[in-house]
Amino acid sequence: MIPLNFLLIVSLILFMVGTLTVLIRRNILMILMGLELMLNAASLLFITYARVLGNLMGQFFTLFIFVVAAVEVGLIIAIVLNIFGLKKSLLTSNFSLMRR
């Protein structure tokens, strides 16, 4: 038997720590890592329920989460490099102006 309650709570804690990272950190790279942690928590939940319900659907969802995460990280890194070239900073509070 797998400890379902425990896995749900681990997934919840990981997701909430990711949310907190997105909310309270000021470095744009830390926000990116918080997003990745949230995606991982969702993957853990999908795979747990795939195992519990005996249905492979959850694992397919996780596969597509991987694809989306790869594309997302690449695009965010391109955007961050562009902004860093302009502002020489990674703090989100310095990104509020849309002009140069």
């Binding site: 797998i2 990981l14 950190r25 492979l56 694992q59 597509f64 989100t92 509070s93």
Partner: protein, 167 residues
């Protein structure tokens, strides 16, 4: 309490510790290594949850590709001044109670009872089973994922590629 349960408890505790260390570390590089640790631990949990293929993909894609990109960008940009000192934003005082309250609500909901885990079918989650269903029943979604990757590549080259000199 059997060994499977104990492994889950150990891996879960390690994952939570890694995530907290990511949240609280002041340097982005330490946070990135903590996140890498969380992903390795999660890969072990996937293997225990009879998803060996997803465990390998987690190692290759997340730990191998995505975290490499993030660590690369952390080393590429050199920050100075304010970036090193202003770590936490001013809304921390409001964000922490809000997130804690939401967590308590969800935990109360979990405790009200959820379906118990049965025994999965034989060969559940094996590469053979997984790919057979993926490439027959979900072939369209699989192709759409490759289109998404192509769009990502085009977008990144549009953002970062050198502009051609206009004559």
């Amino acid at each position: 309490m059997d060994t499977l349960n104990v492994s889950f408890y150990v891996l879960g505790a390690l994952a939570v510790l890694g995530a907290l260390s990511m949240l609280l570390s002041r340097q982005p590089m330490r946070a990135a290594v903590s996140l890498l640790f969380v992903m390795l631990v999660l890969s072990g949990m996937y293997a225990l949850l009879s998803a060996p293929f997803m465990a390998v993909l987690q190692l290759i894609i997340y730990a191998g590709a995505i975290m490499t990109l993030i660590i690369f960008i952390v080393t590429l940009v050199d920050v100075k001044g304010d970036d090193l000192h202003k770590v936490f934003s001013q809304i921390t005082l409001f964000a922490v109670p809000a997130v804690l309250g939401l967590s308590v609500l969800i935990i109360l909901h979990i405790m009200q009872g959820i379906p118990a885990a049965g025994q999965p079918p034989a060969e559940f989650g094996s590469v053979k089973n997984f790919t057979r269903i993926l490439l027959s029943q979900y072939a369209l979604q699989f192709e759409l994922a490759s289109v998404l990757l192509l769009v990502g590549i085009v977008g990144i080259s549009a953002l970062r590629g050198k502009k051609e000199e206009s004559k």
